[in-house]
């Protein structure tokens, strides 16, 4: 499926730390992945696992005091890891752009939608009328009815779904090659979620771009993604194509995520919640960060952090106990293989 496709983005051993008053929060602690042209790459994990900070590192939009301390980010063949803000801003919008989770807080409350759309073309030599025309086209593209009228309105006059559509229009205005969608539908109603996902998918085809889709929702992953990385406390635990992920997950954490999903074949069964809570990123346990919650935990897990291992072409896992986890094969068929 991947073949010899070109890479649009390459992240190598990215480390993003937040030095605090007394502690160092390692939000991203050595993340590597690639995104190929035309694919949708999913980043999935619980909140606080560093998936959003990975995206912000790529965009150069880390909140203070966050800093990329190590690693490399290569966008479309250009190393952008240590680019100055001035250089980086030339890439934003045109090569990569983002849509955030909360369309309400991501759009300025005091500017008309029109103005926020037209500013995408600040650097493009166009007349006001042309920019306005482009703004109308963009709103039409994302399916906002009577765009000429709606663009004169403000964010607070839009519904949640409409705001998200407007944000997508702004993000795609300059035809970026890579769209980072950071939980784009989490704040929306379920029915709207589906519409927005379909919209993103159709725009991806239309504009021929790649997408990094950040979510904690495995359903969304299944619907949208080609390849997936599962993140846990700043590390990628497992990375493979989406079919493999659902058919034969190998990491205990991935498995636990899967079995926490409701199973349509077994209505009324209790959901298997993962025991414990995500670790404190400033005080990570030694060894594998997942061991305190892991059902397969062995002695070595508490001592040594496992390395990422490629167990099959395009399938890497970060676990010491791969022999045991081989049994996970086929969990979709037998989801209640483990008692909580």
């Amino acid at each position: 499926m991947i073949g010899v496709a070109e890479r649009i983005l390459e992240v190598k051993d990215l480390k993003t730390y937040f030095p605090g008053r007394d502690e160092l929060v390692k939000a991203v602690d050595g993340v590597s992945f690639e995104v190929y042209k035309g694919e949708t790459f999913g980043l999935v994990g619980e909140s606080g696992c560093g998936k959003s900070q990975t995206c912000r590192s790529i965009l150069g939009l880390l909140k203070k005091p966050g800093r990329v301390v190590d690693g490399q980010i290569i966008l479309d063949g250009q190393d952008i890891t240590h680019l100055k803000e001035k250089e980086l801003r030339k890439l934003r919008g045109k090569k990569m752009s983002v849509i955030f989770q909360e369309p309400m807080t991501s759009l300025s409350p005091v500017l008309k939608i029109k103005k926020q759309l037209m500013e995408v073309f600040d650097d493009t030599p166009m007349t006001r009328a042309e920019k306005q025309q482009r703004a109308v086209e963009l709103l039409r593209m994302v399916g906002i009815p009577s765009p000429e009228l709606r663009m004169e309105e403000y964010t607070f006059q839009f519904s949640g779904g409409m705001r998200q559509r407007a944000m997508i229009a702004m993000a795609l205005g300059a035809r970026p090659k890579l769209l980072i969608a950071d939980e784009p539908t989490t704040a929306l109603d379920v029915t709207i979620q589906d519409q927005i996902m379909k919209l993103i998918n159709s725009l991806k085809q239309e504009l021929d771009m790649s997408i990094i889709l950040v979510t904690h929702d495995l359903g969304v992953i299944a619907q949208m993604c080609d390849r997936v990385a599962v993140m846990y406390s700043g590390l990628i635990m497992e990375m493979c194509d989406v079919v493999t992920l659902f058919a034969s997950p190998r990491h205990p954490y991935t498995y636990a995520l899967m079995s926490s999903l409701p199973d349509p074949a077994n209505k009324g069964a209790r959901l298997n919640a993962i025991q414990g809570s995500p670790p404190n990123l400033a005080h990570l346990p030694e060894g594998c960060p997942f061991w305190p919650r892991c059902t397969e935990c062995a002695d070595i897990c508490k001592r040594e952090r496992p390395e990422m291992r490629e167990i099959a072409p395009g399938h890497s896992v970060r676990c010491h106990c791969l022999d045991k986890t081989a049994a996970y094969r086929g969990i979709i068929e037998a989801p209640q293989g483990k008692e909580a």
């Binding site: 912000r56 965009l59 939009l61 909140k63 803000e85 001035k86 801003r89 030339k90 890439l91 934003r92 919008g93 045109k94 752009s97 983002v98 955030f100 909360e102 807080t105 991501s106 759009l107 300025s108 409350p109 005091v110 500017l111 008309k112 103005k115 926020q116 500013e119 995408v120 600040d122 650097d123 403000y154 607070f156 944000m167 702004m170 993000a171 205005g173 300059a174």
Partner: protein, 313 residues
């Protein structure tokens, strides 16, 4: 059109407040202990002179009728005659009002001029040395009494350096008038700037954390565009409200600053009238100050409705 309706609505809402203000300023004369006619006529006036004054001021009529006459006179801008200066009060106010308005606008402009860049920088560099330095400066500016700062500046720039006039009013040209306003306006702008800086700083700290600023950056906007269109534009929303309160305070402060710099404005007139126990004038200027504040508030509401579209019309 909707905005015009909104303005008219705000104007109508002002009327009851204004009416109560007239009742209060009217009653002021009657609340002063002692016989107003005697106070106005002077301590040593003969009884018949006091009676004449009573009739002249209409104090022999019932209270409600006096108020009615007061209100009618107010609407026709007949504010009575000053005892001390033997001139129509409306005329005296007319001469002095431009000075106070110029002073207030000048102080406001200077305050904003200091506050916008400093508040912005302090907010961006939160908890860093620049922020601390600006914060301490604002504390000092707020704690310094304006009359003292005014006097010090006068000693430095007028008495020692002879750069600027040591108070008074030189109406020979616009420039000479401007020179007379520099020191008082600067003095008054200090506290305004300090208060605005603190507000601006806190808004900026809050706003640069907002997703919409990050999203604006992600569109590839220049740093200047993000600053102008998103950070400053949004922080202005709260600053404008505060500014109207500061302008009211500046109007009140004119009593002190105009007295220090001997500027012929409404503030100085208030001071002179109180010193001379000229209650006709005091009554009028107190009303005038309230009127000015209401006008400032109305203008603020209008500006605010442009700045923040969420205002309900």
């Amino acid at each position: 059109m909707r905005r015009l309706n909104y303005i008219l609505k705000r104007l109508l809402q002002m009327l009851p407040v204004l009416l109560v203000v007239t009742i209060m300023t009217f009653l002021m004369i009657h609340l002063i202990p002692g016989d107003p006619a005697r106070i106005m006529a002077g301590e040593k006036a003969r009884p018949d002179a006091v009676e004449a004054m009573r009739v002249k001021l209409g104090l022999d009529k019932p209270l409600w009728e006096q108020y009615w006459i007061y209100l009618k006179n107010l609407v026709t801008l007949d504010l009575g005659t000053s005892m001390k200066f033997s001139r129509p009060v409306a005329e005296m106010i007319g001469e002095r009002l431009p000075v106070t308005i110029a002073l207030t606008l000048f102080s406001t402009a200077l305050g904003l001029l200091f506050a916008l860049p400093l508040g912005y920088v302090a907010g961006l560099q939160k908890d860093q040395p620049t922020d601390h330095a600006i914060r301490i400066s604002t504390l000092v500016a707020i704690a310094m009494p304006s009359f003292w700062v005014g006097l010090l500046l006068m000693i430095l720039f007028s008495v020692t350096l002879h750069w600027l006039p040591a108070g008074g009013w030189d109406a020979t040209s616009l420039f000479s008038e401007f020179k007379c306003l520099i020191l008082p306006a600067f003095t008054q702008s200090l506290m305004t700037a300090a208060i605005l800086i603190r507000d601006m700083r806190n808004s900026v700290v809050d706003i640069i954390r907002q997703d919409y600023v990050d999203f604006a950056k992600s569109k590839g906007l220049s740093a200047g565009a993000v600053r102008r269109r998103h950070i400053i534009r949004n922080s202005m929303v709260s600053t404008v409200t505060l500014l109207s309160m500061r302008m009211a305070a500046l109007l009140g402060g004119s009593v002190i600053i105009e007295t220090v710099f001997a500027l012929p404005g409404i503030g100085k007139l208030t001071y002179d009238a109180i010193s001379a126990r000229d209650y006709t004038v005091v009554q009028s200027v107190v009303f005038l100050f309230a009127l000015l504040v209401l006008v400032v508030n109305l203008l603020t509401d209008i500006i605010y409705s442009f700045l923040d579209p969420r205002v309900e019309f």
